[in-house]
């Protein structure tokens, strides 16, 4: 019997772009599109686009977020519009009663378990939902990433208005997206989390918008090397 596999919403596009795939926790992920060194160099010099849709995306709604984050991570929840690193997760506060937790693909299940266990011990309604499969997650990585985003979205992506570990919700290329900034070392990086069904459209539209600044696809291997 064929072994269980999972595909991101960008699978067909990545295959068409010549991606080589690798398996991570059952997900078929694009490992690289061209030479890894070239992909890394493009991201460092200008901007590159990568599909990290397999990353865990868990939303939590309810009024006990502080208690929950304290119980799970011994950390305070970040302020609205900000993110914070936690053990094997990043926490992003969308509203006073709405938190987004992102994780690596292999940490989703464990994180959900921890959250559900902690929530069960708390009073009041807390809804924890795994949205991993429902959201595409595209990352624009590189010094020109803010410029490319500025062609698709009216927000100010300047360093003062949108610092590292900030989160905003806005329209990007006429689609609703959660935008996270999580720099990779010194390299600016923005993630776009939106409807999985629009992932392919978004990829194509972002690629087109960044054509003149040399936007190129970036595989997982190059991302890890950044």
């Amino acid at each position: 019997m064929t072994e269980l596999y999972k595909q991101t919403p960008l699978h067909a596009i990545a295959a068409q772009a010549g991606a080589q795939f690798t398996d991570v926790d059952g997900w078929q992920l694009s490992q690289r599109f061209s030479a890894v060194e070239a992909e890394t160099a493009a991201a460092r010099a200008a901007v590159a686009l990568t599909d990290l849709s397999a990353n865990g995306k868990i939303t939590i709604e309810g009024h006990q977020l502080e208690a929950l984050t304290a119980a799970v991570w011994q950390a305070t929840a970040p302020a609205v519009g900000a993110g914070a690193a936690a053990d094997k997760a990043y926490l992003w506060r969308l509203r006073p009663d709405h938190l987004l937790v992102t994780t690596a693909p292999e940490d989703v299940v464990a994180t959900l378990t921890r959250l559900n266990r902690a929530a069960a011990a708390l009073d009041g309604l807390l809804t924890i939902t795994d949205l991993t499969h429902g959201r595409s997650e595209l990352w624009l990585v590189g010094p020109a990433s803010a410029e490319v985003l500025g062609r698709l979205c009216g927000l100010n992506f300047g360093p003062a208005a949108f610092p590292n570990l900030a989160v905003r919700q806005s329209s990007v290329a006429k689609t609703a997206q959660i935008i996270l900034r999580r720099d990779i070392g010194q390299t600016p990086a923005f993630a776009l989390l939106g409807a999985a069904s629009l992932g392919a459209y978004l990829w194509e539209t972002v690629m087109q918008a960044g054509q003149d600044v040399g936007l190129a696809p970036l595989g997982r291997q190059a991302v890890l090397g950044l």
Binding site: T127, H133, A209
Partner: protein, 961 residues
């Protein structure tokens, strides 16, 4: 090949061309030599081509007048693109440039005769002449459309690439001249981020081309400083088009539109050369001072060989000296001032240059291009004297480029002393500096720029406000500075004297219009179309105000100005549209569908497989064996919390409190007017977890609708989460569906263990899925919801498992037939914005006896009064006839057919081999099964019969096997 050495000078300081390289392009079929850095117009001027196009109405020859993109006189067709400004467009190798408004050629234009009949074609001529006889209008229209318009569009041209860029900046500086540069530097020095927009390739403004060329000076230094400053971003070749509230600007560079949010805006937009109205004032060879200087300094091109300089200020003398130094013979300088008022016009002109004080030009003379000018004293009534020359330089003053300041709601008034419209009161956060604010001396331009930069920084709280004494002192310096502009806008004459070069409107036309009663400036504009052409008033607006004032006996201030509207400069629709962004939703199986021969269709934002080649065969597969359809597009909402049933009770017309865990119910949702909004099934997964599906197109709107009610006070102890895309969904339908599914799971699927309208969590081929046993198709069917990432895997496993049972994928068309055979409605197709569920044959779902719910009150009324129209099934009397959806149902009456209903769905049923459909009928007729009525098809009335209930398996036995 045109000789480009005819007018090309030795290299000039600061020129933009690269003489080391040459290339050619064609103009009207002839090769023109150009250098990189040349514009089309400069290359043509270097080759001695002075006539570039013809005018819009009278087809008069036109050539470079402003060399700044401000007039309409150099519009050409470049390849497929019409209305390209030759003076602003870089020449490129192999470009194909053609003149506009000419036929068959620029020189011998067949329509040039229209000028002879100008007296019969006054302003408003079209409106007056072609209104009668009315029957002739189609003919007139055809002819006028052929003659009118600018340039030619080729609809077959492939679309270009366009995009938009949002910019955010503390301070936006519009204009990169001396004032703009110093403003940008001053603001940046205070810590502001500054974006500087300049329409030219390099910053510097009029200092880049002013004659005589400065040996050095502050300009190069300022430009370099601005480029190097980390807080300043310079946007060259960028034209700011508009200014809206809260400092929201738009600008264009090439095919890109910038949308700019600025904390403060400094307008240092400079000024345009002002035309003087005289006989033949647009004859090729009449050029503004700015054009002569630009040609000479930026492109190393002599603007003519023998120049007559007409001026009213010292600048004209400097231009004359500069021309002379460049080898142009200055034959006359005509200054309307008395010699005593002139400043240090000490530049030495050649001995044979004639100087005329208190004189002005009366007419340009020449056949097709300037051959000389008539000169006359201002005061005395004497015959003008003719002076031969091929270049007339008009340098009588400037019009401040205040269009954006107007848009920014600046109060601008006419300054009689300076003879210019100058800003009086600026809105908060808006500043003006340099020529647009009336500064004409280099030192005041720089000082005013610096001051504006500091004021902008202070406005943003980055620095203390400059002392008011400094502001007052600068105003004093400006007032004491040299006057630049003449109050004179025209001189007497008897021939064609154009005020508006875009639409060939003369001063006589304006006089006539005013005499006809169009005597307010706004009416005059609309009637004469003045300021509505490609120059957008830059050439004509100020002079029109003066003429209007004179003819109405008012002052210029009383006459007022027209409203300045965006865009300030022509902008293509492509630039406004930007990058093509049309979101398309694709399911996780999109690539599979395409690879397997699906004909895709657009359904809302979704792409869905309409069929896989043969919809009737797909229907047959479901009815006889088993079929599989991708219904991932369904909306899916998760409700959690103990308050969920209460909330559902309020949102749906059905009851929910007693739905047991593991059960599924079909629900209908109405708005507060009792109109059907959506439908779908809801499953109770646990005591506090519910799973609701909505129509594919309704997911987002229904989620928002629920959120709206949650936040309006119905949200006690319930959360709604949109998980539409978290799960993919497939419908496995047909008598063999159970057998197929059983191959992927050990769970008991028999009727007793998993009955109709129930939900189960099953592991299918190792994937945790939620499966609902429901039946839109009318067959035993399972709606399988699995994680979207595993969709491809699960789909393939289902097909593998079904191979032995003859499984076939089916598309939307087959699904539509299948559901119609069961008389199931589609919300939005069979219902509209007036349909209530009682009339739509779903009264069984409406529970009027429960507590308040959306639509309860109006539905009570319908229940009490009975519906006026009803949705029912129908069959056609004549076999093979399938009426189009939307056709009218009519009743013949003595007065003609009366519309009594309409068809909402219809198909040929392959299962029943007959036409079936749904339609709206008057309730009494709809209530009689078998009653006949008529549908109007192609002008004929075709008989149909009322049918109640499902057409296929009316008892629903097949769902429960």
């Amino acid at each position: 090949m045109l000789n480009n050495a005819l007018y090309r000078l030795e290299p000039q300081a600061g020129e933009t061309i690269d003489r080391a390289q040459t290339f050619t392009f064609t103009f009207e079929g002839r090769a023109v030599i150009a250098h990189p850095g040349d514009t089309i117009a400069s290359a043509l001027a270097a080759a001695g081509v002075h006539v570039i196009s013809r005018s819009f109405k009278y087809h008069r020859p036109r050539g470079v007048m402003c060399m700044a993109g401000h007039c309409p006189n150099c519009l050409v067709q470049v390849g497929d693109e019409p209305n390209v400004r030759a003076c602003q467009t870089p020449a490129e190798p192999d470009m194909v440039v053609k003149p506009q408004n000419v036929w068959p050629s620029l020189k011998k234009d067949a329509m040039a005769f229209t000028g002879l009949f100008s007296r019969f074609m006054p302003v408003g001529f079209y409106y007056k002449t072609f209104i009668r006889p009315q029957a002739m209008w189609p003919l007139f229209e055809r002819i006028l459309r052929r003659i009118a318009g600018l340039g030619k569009v080729n609809p077959a041209t492939p679309p270009d690439r366009y995009d938009k860029q949002y910019l955010h900046t503390d301070v936006a500086v519009v204009g990169g001249g001396p004032a703009g540069l110093s403003a940008a530097l001053a603001a940046a020095e205070q810590g502001a981020t500054v974006s500087l927009f300049d329409e030219n390739p390099q910053p510097g403004g009029h200092w880049r081309y002013a004659l005589p060329a400065p040996d050095d000076g502050p300009l190069p230094d300022l430009a370099a400083q601005a480029e190097a400053h980390p807080g300043i971003t310079v946007y060259p070749e960028t034209t700011v088009l508009s200014c809206y509230e809260d400092n929201w600007l738009s600008a264009r560079r090439g095919n890109r539109l910038f949308k700019i949010r600025a904390g403060a805006v400094i307008f240092a937009t400079g000024a345009y050369d002002r035309p003087l109205i005289f006989d033949n004032d647009e004859l090729p060879g009449v050029r503004f001072g700015g054009a002569a200087q630009r040609l000479l300094r930026l492109y190393g091109v002599q603007p003519g060989k023998r120049a007559i300089v007409v001026t009213a200020n010292d600048g004209g003398w400097r231009i004359a000296a500069g021309l002379q130094a460049a080898g142009v013979s200055v034959v006359a300088v005509v200054d309307e001032r008395p010699e005593s008022e002139a400043g240090a016009v000490s530049h030495v002109l050649q001995a044979d240059a004639r100087v005329f004080w208190r004189h002005t030009i009366r007419a340009a003379r020449g056949a097709g291009a300037v051959e000389g000018a008539d000169i006359a004293p201002l005061d005395a009534q004497v015959r003008p004297q003719f002076i031969a020359g091929d270049l007339i330089v008009i340098n009588i003053g400037l019009t401040p480029a205040n269009g954006l300041l107007y848009q920014a709601q600046t109060k601008i008034s006419y300054n009689e002393d300076r003879a210019e419209f100058l800003p009086e009161t600026l809105p908060a956060g808006v500043f003006a500096a340099g020529r647009v604010a009336g500064s004409h001396a280099g030192a005041t331009e720089l000082a005013e720029g610096r001051l504006a930069g500091r004021q902008a920084a202070a406005f943003l709280g980055l620095a203390p406000a400059p002392p008011s004494a400094e502001i007052t002192a600068l105003a004093g310096q400006k007032a004491a500075g040299p006057k630049r502009s003449s109050a004179r806008v025209d001189v007497p004459g008897s021939q064609k004297r154009f005020v508006c070069f875009c639409e060939d409107v003369t001063d006589k036309d304006l006089e006539t219009a005013i005499a006809e009663g169009f005597d307010s400036i706004e009416l005059l504009k609309r009637y004469s179309t003045i300021s509505m052409g490609p120059c957008q008033g830059k050439m004509c607006a100020a002079n029109t105000i003066h003429l209007c004032a004179r003819h109405t006996g008012q002052s210029v201030a009383q006459t007022g100005t027209t409203t300045a509207r965006p865009p300030l400069a022509p902008v293509s629709l492509g630039v406004l549209a930007g990058q093509n962004m049309e979101p398309v939703k694709r399911t996780a199986l999109d690539a599979w569908h395409r690879a397997n021969g699906a004909g895709m269709m657009v359904a809302g934002l979704w792409m869905r497989p309409e069929h896989y080649g043969n919809p009737p065969a797909e229907v047959q597969a479901v009815r006889e064996r088993v079929g599989l359809i991708d219904v991932s597009t369904l909306g899916k909402l998760q409700l959690t919390g103990p308050g969920a049933p209460d909330f559902l009770d309020r949102i749906y017309v059905n009851k929910w409190q007693k739905l047991g865990v593991g059960r599924v119910r079909y629900g209908v949702m109405c708005n507060d007017e009792g109109v059907v909004m959506n439908d779908g099934v809801t499953a109770r997964l646990s005591e506090t977890t519910w799973y609701t599906t909505t129509t594919s197109s309704g997911a987002g709107a229904i989620f928002e609708w629920m959120q709206w009610w949650l936040q309006s006070g119905w949200g006690g102890e319930v959360h709604v989460t949109n998980i539409s895309e978290v799960n993919a969904a497939f419908n496995l339908a047909g008598p063999r569906a159970r057998a197929v599914l059983q191959k992927l799971t050990d769970a008991d699927l028999l009727n007793e263990a998993f009955p109709y309208m129930h939900v189960r969590h099953l592991t299918l081929a190792g994937v945790a899925c939620m499966v609902m046993r429901i039946g839109f198709t009318g067959e035993l069917s399972y709606e399988i919801h699995c994680p979207t990432g595993a969709a491809h895997y699960v789909w393939e496993r289902l097909l593998d498992a079904g191979r032995d049972f003859g499984i076939a994928p089916f598309g939307v068309e087959a699904q539509r037939i299948l559901r119609l055979e069961k008389a199931h409605i589609i919300v939005g197709q069979d219902t509209d914005a007036l349909s209530d569920p009682i009339s739509a044959d779903m009264a069984w779902a409406v529970k009027l006896d429960k507590a308040d719910f959306l639509g309860q009150r109006p539905l009570r009324q319908v229940a009490q009064d009975g519906p006026a129209q009803r949705l029912v099934g129908f069959t056609m009397a004549r076999p093979g006839l399938v009426p189009d959806e939307g056709l009218q149902i009519v009743r013949p009456t003595a007065a003609g057919p009366e519309i009594i209903g309409w068809v909402t769905s219809s198909r040929h049923s392959p299962t029943l081999n007959q036409t079936i459909g749904l339609c709206w009928l008057p309730a009494p007729l709809a209530g009689q099964p078998g009653a006949t009525f008529t549908i109007r098809m192609n002008g004929k009335l075709e008989e149909a019969r009322v049918h109640h209930g499902p057409f296929y398996d009316p008892q629903g036995d097949r769902l429960r096997i």
